[in-house]
């Protein structure tokens, strides 16, 4: 497709990404702000957005809610495997196309694993409503890594032999050392990275528990990064074991404390999946794809996103005992003394 066209870069080109970072204030300063402030300052129409987490694990759901509330236009989403984050954005586009639009997606997988397929993905793709570019999980992770490393590309074996080579901007060259083919993937440097973590300090140093996914790479690659965290702690506590820090402060632009910020997805050490809520939401999308009414979906957005001021208000809509149960389920997965 784009194979013969001149190279185009989504987000920033490698040289632009370098320039943006060089010119940025990288000092150790207080970056706490509200989610409204962060989204207003760093998420703009046409932006390439890098989404952290993995499927429904530690996805930046609170940031996504705020982006929907504010409205978004022509966003370009980049992620490896994602679940509710693109699903919520797509659902918003389905019920409020005037207010919310996705232009393009670069992805490896959009679905929900044990919770089922994404009907919104089928809806947008099968109707030709958005551009997209297929990659693999390693491809996308490696592309963010190349961006984080300040390189224009990274070699991988991943795309060789199959059609991902043909529908993406991959270039296959003969390795100058071995003579065998090797894939070169263009770096990804999003305009803004969206990351949810377990703990951060006010400067933006982040501790991640469980899988790191590709969050550090996204944060380092992006021109700006918004971080939400379950716990906002003192710098002194956060750096007690510096090796726990997965994202260093200069890679972060906004720090917002948002407990349950990945909910109804899971967050290691904090809460396990709220399967009911995920399935309920997915159940509202499916009928529309078959030509049904979008009223119920619209009502969901009106109740849970447009009708509330903040993600805290959304979380407040859940029964306390359900939130406690999801915390308890996670405590079972990784038992620890308080």
């Amino acid at each position: 497709m784009e194979k013969d066209a001149k190279m185009f870069w989504t987000g920033l080109s490698p040289d632009e990404a370098r320039e943006a970072l060089v010119n940025k204030d990288k000092s150790m300063r207080d970056k706490r702000m509200t989610l409204k402030e962060a989204v207003s300052e760093f998420v703009n129409a046409g932006d390439n957005v890098g989404i952290g987490g993995f499927v429904n694990v530690r996805q930046p759901i609170a940031i996504i809610h705020e982006i929907i509330r504010k409205g978004f236009k022509d966003l370009i989403l980049s992620f490896h495997s994602a679940g509710m984050a693109p699903e919520l954005l797509a659902g918003a586009m389905m019920v409020r196309p005037d207010h919310c639009s996705i232009k393009r997606i670069e992805l490896a997988y959009w679905g929900h694993e044990g919770f089922g397929l994404s009907q919104a993905w089928r809806y947008l793709a099968e109707r030709g409503m958005i551009e997209f570019e297929d990659w693999s999980n390693y491809n996308m992770s490696a592309r963010f890594k190349a961006g984080a490393m300040g390189l224009p590309f990274i070699p991988t074996r991943g795309p060789l032999g199959g059609d991902i080579c043909n529908t993406s901007r991959t270039k296959v060259i003969d390795c100058p050392f071995t003579g065998r083919p090797i894939g070169l993937l263009p770096a990804s440097n999003p305009n803004v990275g969206l990351i949810h973590v377990q703990a951060a300090d006010m400067y933006g140093n982040c501790i991640i528990r469980g899988t790191d996914a590709t969050c550090a790479e996204i944060a380092m690659a992006s021109a700006h990064t918004i971080v939400t965290c379950e716990q906002l702690v003192s710098h002194e506590l956060l750096v007690t074991n510096p090796k726990d820090i997965m994202i260093p402060f200069p890679a972060v632009d906004a720090v917002v404390k948002v407990p349950f910020g990945a909910y109804p997805g899971a967050c290691r050490r904090h809460y396990y999946f709220n399967s009911d809520h995920i399935l309920e939401f997915l159940g509202l999308i499916a009928p529309i794809c078959k030509g049904g009414s979008s009223d119920a979906l619209k009502a969901w957005y009106d109740e849970f996103i447009f009708g509330v001021e903040s993600f805290e208000d959304y979380i407040d809509k859940f029964q306390t005992k359900k939130l406690f149960a999801d915390q308890a389920a996670e405590s079972y997965n990784c038992e620890r003394l308080a």
């Binding site: 497709m1 993995f54 499927v55 429904n56 694990v57 495997s81 490896a108 997988y109 959009w110 679905g111 694993e113 044990g114 397929l117 994404s118 993905w121 089928r122 793709a125 099968e126 109707r127 030709g128 551009e131 997209f132 297929d134 693999s136 999980n137 390693y138 491809n139 992770s141 490696a142 991988t156 074996r157 991943g158 795309p159 060789l160 032999g161 199959g162 059609d163 991902i164 043909n166 529908t167 065998r180 083919p181 090797i182 894939g183 469980g210 899988t211 790191d212 996914a213 590709t214 969050c215 550090a216 790479e217 899971a266 290691r268 396990y272 999946f273 399967s275 996670e330 997965n333 990784c334």
Partner: protein, 266 residues
Amino acid sequence: MTVSTDYTAQEIIVVAGAKVLENNKIVFVGTGLPMVATLLAIHTHAPGLIPVFEAGAVGPPLKHGLPTSVGDSKTFTGASYLKGLNSAFELTQRGFADFGFIGGAEVDMYGNLNSTMMGDYPEGYLKPKVRLPGSGGASDMAASCDRTILIVPHDKKKFNEKLSYMTSPGHLDGSPDARYKAGMQGKGPYRLITTKGIFDFEEKTKRMRLISIFPGETVESIQAATGFELLIADNVTQFAAPTAEEVRMIREEVDPLGIFVKRAAK
């Protein structure tokens, strides 16, 4: 051992998948039935099997049960390594994964898999007839695990001469050294498990070959459900029905919530 009388198509896939896995090997596990089969193998003949999940966990004991996601918290506890996606795929690309265990929606006679789209390609790529979730880590596992085990529900519409899209390359066009020449690593598809039987890929032609038949099926019924000509092994075997104990383990211990193995309607 008592034979199960009410096992489902998914359950026999899980049992067959578990049996293909070897003890003390490293298996890179895709989401869904591969996770269930891996856990069953660990609970039965392969306690030393080492699962790797693409979100980053290497060798977790999985003592807290079946993960819902390859990035599930249950894969992290007690793991011998836990970073992120790049690390998991880098070690696979290096050669640490003896097996890769992946599902797909469409397969051809060389074990190439499609999990991207159904429809016209390349014209219809950006507006496909059916859009599937996408590769996830499958194409990476296909390119870099030493051997891959595939799971595809058997259906004539899904066993095609030509794929709509080749997401995860298998033996490519079956020509000698095709994978090596393409720059890939590993030996490619080793076994395919469907709802009707188990297949390998004949050494010389790399073509799909029936080696074991599930109860209730015949060579003919399987060929009839396949959109290309199958090779049939000389010594094709009848795969024994799952035992009642195997089915009980799946239903009560491995996937008691029916996350991936759906319960048959009563």
